[in-house]
Amino acid sequence: MKWAAFGLWLAVAPVTALAYTAYVTNERDNTISVVDLDQMKTVKTLPVGQRPRGITMTKDGSQILVCASDDDTIQIIDAATLRIVGDLPSGPDPETFALHVSGNPLYVSNEDDNMITVIDIPTRKVLAQVPTGVEPEGMAVSPDGQTIVNTSETTNMAHFLDYRTRKLAAAVLVDARPRVAVFKHDGSEVWVSSELGGTVSVIDPVKHVVTHKIAFQVQGLRAEAIQPVGIRFTADDSTAFVALGPANRIAVIDTDTYKVKKLLLVGQRVWQMAFTPDQKYLLTTNGLSNDISVIDVANLDVVKSIQVGRLPWGVVVSPK
């Protein structure tokens, strides 16, 4: 009986393991594509607010949060019914946000008024507004929630803000047009991508210095086509993935040596990424080919591309 049950488990496991749903914001269509990762296809398209970009989910997977940048709001979508059930007071022009590792609060970057708005998700109330550098762009929160990093396109800096005092602790110069900032899960490093500079700066968040700079080369491609944007670390922090924009490649980086160990051709103008919760797959949004690519993380190859709406920007995978 026990063995029979085990056999059944084996037969069922691969199916249940894949039954995740991904949600993709389509910046030009003002929609979200709902992608069934079991069938590997878009199963539904939801109209949302104008110019949807940043997207995340609450930790319990019950709600999807979407920055509707041109509507100056963050919409809350019920993941079960796929209905818009409310909004969060995001402040003007929310482009992107970061969820605290515990699932609350939410830190929102407001490009227009040079602020970071901190929101308590359950009560939908603003906890704090923290002034930042000029035109905040990318955003990251340290695992302990005490340091907020935001990148500024105007000053080419990563600003380190102390959450408790709401004061600027340090500003670290990086290469031109910094975009995305991401902490390693262990909090030991912050990686910042520079879209025009074509590099990723690795920053020590305590000493506030750049410890390594990662450059990229794709044979046959001009340097200006290499525009790093999205960054993701595996759960064990051993491998990083960097999206290279119009180079249409994802760079796979060994985080011990800071060396690029593989380049994967995905879709056009690759922008942001998200892992499935089991870390089996990494999804990439490809803004120009209007699709997402599915990367097999263990084998480091692209196994599928799935059509979504126009100008896909962000992606999140349900933890369920």
Binding site: G220, E224, N248, L265, Q268
Partner: protein
């Protein structure tokens, strides 16, 4: 009042037309990339060192024409790749790589002409902006001078209005034209991907 609004609009238009620092004549928001790179769309077998001329093979030539012509819808072009792959037999790999190489060159050259056209357009738009700026200034001077001839002032108002209108119309047409290089790039990528799939 109306004239003030007009002057204000002209100012806004000119501000919006301010060129980027990289290439003074380039009129689009998109970063100007003069040529496509094969490496941006292809990570399969190398295309240099292929033998044969696609023009000498009638079927291959038909395929290349269909793939390179943007009026052939992409799904039809992709269906043609699949059909060609089946009938090409053991020549499949060589012929599809020749097709890819040819389509890439044709579409890249078409895209380059579009880029050149946009550059010329940008230069003309800049000239018009300079004229509009000068005429707007002249009008301001004329309006401030009590001795100005009312008929001449009126003529100048009409002229500035017309120039502003042309400027704006062109600017609206531009947003579509600036998308064309991307559209060509999308087609090249989609065709390369279909050829890659047909080779697997």
């Amino acid at each position: 009042m109306k004239r003030q609004v007009l002057l204000f609009q002209a100012g806004v238009l000119l501000a919006a037309a301010a060129p980027g620092p990289r290439d003074p004549d380039w009129p689009c928001q998109q970063i100007k990339i003069t040529h496509l790179s094969l490496a941006a769309v292809w990570s399969g077998p190398a295309l240099d060192g292929l033998h044969g001329d696609w023009r000498e093979d009638p079927q291959l030539s038909d395929l290349v024409q269909d793939l390179a012509q943007r009026r052939v819808p992409l799904d039809q072009a992709q269906a043609k790749i699949r059909a060609f792959a089946v009938q090409a037999g053991d020549q499949k790999a060589t012929k599809l790589l020749l097709a890819l190489s040819a389509v890439f060159d044709l579409l890249d050259s078409e895209r380059s002409s579009v880029i050149d056209g946009l550059d010329r357009f940008g230069a003309r738009q800049k000239e018009l902006a300079a004229t509009l700026r000068e005429d707007t200034e002249k009008l301001r001077v004329m309006q401030a001078d009590p001795a100005s001839d009312a008929g001449e002032v009126n003529q100048m108002v009409q002229r500035v209005t017309w120039e502003a209108q042309v400027f704006q119309d062109r600017r609206q047409a531009l947003s579509y034209s600036c998308e064309v290089p991307s559209k060509i790039e999308q087609r090249v990528f989609a065709i390369a991907r279909s050829i890659q799939e047909a080779l697997e």
